[in-house]
Amino acid sequence: MAYPQTYPKLYFYRRIVQAKLFIDHHFAEKIELHAIADEAFYSRFHFIRQFKNTYHQTPHQYLTNVRMQHAEKLLAEGLPVAVVCIAVGYEELSSFSRLFKRKTSMNPSDFQDKQRVLQKQIAAAPLSVIPHCFAYQYGWLEKEQFQTNVL
């Protein structure tokens, strides 16, 4: 039995999804919970409850997770930590660093150093991260410029 388009709960789901997508698109801005609740046309209390029922985390927790995911990406790209802090919506470096460490168990600069080492390894010795069966299939094992020594 397929869910009909007129399924009553669909309307509520669309509102919650709208709020989630609002967070996804505006995470770098200074957004308040009431603004997110407005996107879903809910009162603040009901919004938190419905959001948590659907996504098993509060809107604030979700916003923090989205910011941290983007922070990981930007740090891996080599942007300075202070720039990443602002780029993902935090004004204070200490708050950003604390939340980042809580999520990843590393402070931002250590995470960035680790990514830098990994990327250097991939650039210098790609076959150290590629299964040999795959590399063999594409004839990459015969190419002189690829090494298997891990730096």
Partner: protein, 132 residues
């Protein structure tokens, strides 16, 4: 896990920006292929390799053309993505332009929808009934 894709850049956009997976390894090998894997934070250690369909030791040019045709036709049902709330996930993916070939439908094992990636591979999206 390998998934044959017709275009790695397009597949990367689909699996990261639409499905929400993240890049694990992106290692360019030559002008037409790279070792490209994606995954989720919830399943560390599990990687999906977005494999380009290209001539190789195992695949002649004829095989490549046949394989591309099979991928485009949606021959390959690759796997199941599970979720905790299928209606929310369905609505979100639809709003991002993911093509569904079956809407959420109650089955004996839970509620399931089917969608396709940008190459034509199809997947199940399922909210499974807990097994007691």
């Amino acid at each position: 896990m390998n998934i044959y894709v017709l275009d790695q850049d397009s597949a990367l956009d689909f699996y990261t920006n639409k499905l929400g997976l993240k890049v694990i390894i992106d290692a360019p090998m030559n002008e037409y292929a790279r070792w490209l894997t994606v995954g989720t934070a919830e399943q560390p250690g599990f990687e999906i390799n977005l494999t380009p369909v290209h001539e190789s030791i195992l695949h002649s040019q004829g095989t490549v053309e046949a394989l591309k045709d099979l991928v485009k036709k949606g021959t390959f049902g690759v796997g199941i993505f599970t979720c905790t709330d299928i209606m929310a996930t369905y609505e979100e993916l639809r709003s991002k332009g993911v093509e569904f070939i079956k809407p959420p439908t109650k089955e004996f094992y839970g509620t399931e929808a089917l969608f396709k990636d940008d190459s034509g591979n199809w997947f199940s999206l399922a909210q499974l009934t807990p097994v007691l």
